[in-house]
Amino acid sequence: MSLQTLYEIAGRDDAPWAATRAAMVIAITEQYQNGGLDRSEYLEMMQDLVRMDALDAEASDIELKTMLVTAVYAVAQVV
């Protein structure tokens, strides 16, 4: 994926989470290219972005289960 593609994603309004993530990749890559980060720092930051996906998945899982419990509890109050 080129930086140009990332800039396009960063400018999208319909997927704010993807725009935020793309903006981070751009910021990290630009700092690396400009010498603000060394290679090990750059690779670590990219690893952090991968970790963010794992955290997103866990959070979504908890939220889905919570919705299910809430819905069942609401039904139990009605029945």
Binding site: R51, I62, L68, V72
Partner: protein
């Protein structure tokens, strides 16, 4: 009827396979308090100041959260897994600042702060959003 629904919910959430890890954790005052402490630590991160003591503070709050959750019991597996990526992010930073040859890099700190802000915001929303 309510008992029946409760049994149904339990069976549904446990996947009918005895996988206790699939049963969600529920609201906990201490976990909620601590995850906001983590957010506060990150929000107050000053990249112009010495990084190591600030990283240690975040690391300690995350360790508190994990140890408390582990001590509470098996149903906390979801929130432990939730905070694990953030712990890894902070642990890498801690290892870096603990090196004798380390010199603080404000740019690295700023970017790390951005990542941790995203991670902790998402984690706190999930922890505080529980039933």
């Amino acid at each position: 009827m309510k008992k029946l629904l409760a049994i149904f919910t339990f069976a549904l959430l446990s996947g009918c396979a005895g996988l206790t890890g699939l049963i969600p954790s529920f609201w906990d005052d201490n976990q909620s308090h601590r995850i906001i402490s983590v957010r506060l630590d990150i929000e107050r991160l000053d990249c112009k100041a010495a990084q190591k003591p600030q990283v240690i503070k975040i690391r300690d709050d995350l360790a508190w959260f994990r140890l408390y959750s582990e001590s509470k019991g098996g149903r906390q597996a979801d929130v432990i897994a939730l905070t694990a990526p953030m712990t890894d992010t902070v642990e890498d930073w801690y290892k870096r600042v603990s090196l004798e040859s380390h010199k603080d890099n404000a740019i690295y700190c700023d970017l790390k702060k951005r990542v941790l802000t995203e991670q902790s915001t998402r984690a706190a929303k999930a922890v505080l959003g529980r039933f």
